[in-house]
């Protein structure tokens, strides 16, 4: 942790307490995000990525979820110790979040202008007309004609709704944008547009970016660092070059093996055998043990911790993969 660290998450544990079981969604996750850095958080559905992101803003749905322990340090202060009023000042202002499905994330009975104005007026003491101007300005910034601020969400397409959401997230110039699968619900061509938009704006406004996705290609294009998450824990993290060129964790290898590649001749894709364990019934040892081709005795009974193997490349594995030729 240094001067340049914007966000530091330490040992975050989040559980969902259901009627008949407890779901261990996030198990001791730690990471940092520097100022201006672009970090990708990759994993399958159910790995705990969204829950981690929601925890940063204390948006985990309170029944049934709860942040059990851990620290979330933003700009030197642990925001878990803050009052809800203070956390609200951070939401949308210092840290902004974009959610997965743009189709349902906008209030259908309010104009998009009103919705952007709302976040502006929440964190800035400005009048209604100034806020309206700011809203129009944000719409222009994301490539939507400013006059459309009077229109309602149903009058926009999916891609444009996502732009509106981005405009809303960036309206107060946050230091960190958390984008949760910003392109999963969109067509491929629109995906590229939206990613370009996010990248461009990020550069202009100098923010950090936490990009949550299951798409390794998107991460490679957009991020400086990547974190691979599996069953509630980070199993590998490091710079893009380090991780992509020198995969250490068997799960990461499996993820890459599941993608078709142009430069290698192969007949079949190699999916990972088995399925992610049920988060309400995690095994004692490493969660990946059953599916892991590299598993050793230790894997069955102990959970590996993240260890630095050089150059900021972290792996949580008792038997990591060797260097590739």
């Amino acid at each position: 942790m240094g001067e340049n660290t914007l966000l530091s998450v330490e040992d975050l544990v989040v559980k969902y307490f259901l009627r008949t079981s407890t779901c261990e969604a996030v198990n001791g996750v730690s990471f940092t995000i520097e100022k201006g850095e672009r970090v990708g958080l990759v994993g399958e559905t159910g790995a705990g990525k969204t829950t981690t992101a929601l925890s940063i803003l204390d948006l985990v749905p309170n029944p049934p979820g709860r942040i059990v322990s851990g620290k979330i340090i933003l700009n030197g202060e642990d925001i878990r110790t803050k009052s809800i009023a203070d956390v609200r000042k951070i939401r949308g202002n210092d840290v902004a979040m974009n959610f997965q499905d743009p189709m349902t994330s906008l209030n259908p009975v309010m104009t998009v202008g009103d919705q952007i104005m709302e976040v502006v007026r929440l964190h800035n003491d400005i009048g209604k007309f100034e806020a309206m101007d700011k809203a129009k300005e944000m719409l222009e910034l994301v490539g939507i004609p400013g006059e459309r601020y009077l229109e309602y969400p149903h009058q926009f397409s999916g891609g444009m709704k996502q732009r509106v959401l981005i405009a809303m997230a960036l309206a107060c110039n946050p230091k960190l944008l958390i984008a949760d699968e910003p392109t999963s619900a969109l067509d491929v061509t629109i995906q590229a547009q939206v990613l370009d938009l996010i990248n461009g704006l990020r550069e202009r406004l100098g923010m950090s970016l936490l990009l949550i996705t299951h798409d390794l290609g998107v991460v490679a294009e957009t991020c400086d660092r990547v974190m691979i998450m599996y069953a509630g824990s980070i199993v590998e993290s490091g710079t893009i070059r380090a991780v992509y060129k020198n995969i250490k964790h068997p799960y990461t290898k499996g993820l890459f093996g599941s993608i078709p590649r142009l430069d290698i001749e192969s007949d079949r894709l190699e999916p990972i055998k088995g399925m992610m364990p049920d988060p309400s019934n995690l095994p004692e040892g490493c969660a990946f043990c059953e599916r892991c081709p590299n598993a050793v005795e230790a894997c069955k009974t102990q959970r590996p911790k993240l260890e630095d193997i050089g150059d900021g490349h972290l792996v949580a594995c008792f038997n990591p993969l060797k260097e590739e030729a």
Binding site: L59, R88, F99, S105, N107, P108, V109, L122, L150, H154
Partner: protein, 324 residues
Amino acid sequence: MLRYIVKRLLFMLVTLSCTIIFVFTLLEFTPGDPAKIILGQTANEEALEAIRIQFHLNDPYIVRLGRYFMQLLHGDLGTSYITRQPIAGAIAARLPLTLRIAFFGILVGACIGILAGTVSAVKQFSLADRILTFISLFGNSAPSFWTAMLFVLIFAVKLQLLPATGSYGFKYWILPVATIGLQCSSGVTRMTRSSVLEVIRQDYIRTARAKGQVEWKVIISHALRNAFIPILTQLSGEFCGYLGGTVLVESVFAIPGIGNYVLDAVKKMDTPVVLSGIVIICAMCSVIILVVDILYSFIDPRIKATFGFGVKKKKTAKAAGGSK
């Protein structure tokens, strides 16, 4: 937009006409001889025949039906068999009383119901939720006339605070309105609770919170505004129910409203009064449903857009953009 209103108006008139035909036909089956009802059971045959001719009772069904529609178009609701007076006048005097109780009752019920339902939904499964559900079921389980009598017992007899019967001043309205309000609030609470529960799970509520919005504003500006449409439907249904249903409350408080009027007519077999009374009640219901339908389009922009209102908005937006 105007086209939509006109279309709905025509549709309403057609439905209303069908209802009138239905009720008219139904009442054709009233047992007994109308002439004897008018003149009494002991009148002689000549007088009866004269009355039959005077009231056109010998005409075939279709002719009488047609005549009734013609009368309606002229605002003539027929003549009572018992009082021989025009019905329209009596209804005009009585309808406002019923409307007053129903309207204010619904207002009170809506205020209590929406508040209780929202609290219940936001604090689902808590003690407050269970208590509110228990109380709100009371309105649904207790007959309105009994609640009315309970209020009279407590406030008029025991505490001597409010008058028991009569209708000539504000004090007199409190208990009837409270009775209707209590009963109405029950349905509204339940509908609000389920509607808000559904809305609160939506993604846009999470977005509002992620913006840093205060919780009570999230509930009111974001959740309630979206939850309102089913609540409005419920309210209009309740109002229609009370147009006829206030007869029970009117009976307890001796209020000469339209409910009591039709009730007397039923007991005396005064068919024209029953017919016109029900026709007026149904007409009012249709008007309310029409007004609410149009209100929907103002509340929900998605409905507004379906009926061409969006075109106007684009022009305004362009004008605003053009003048920049």
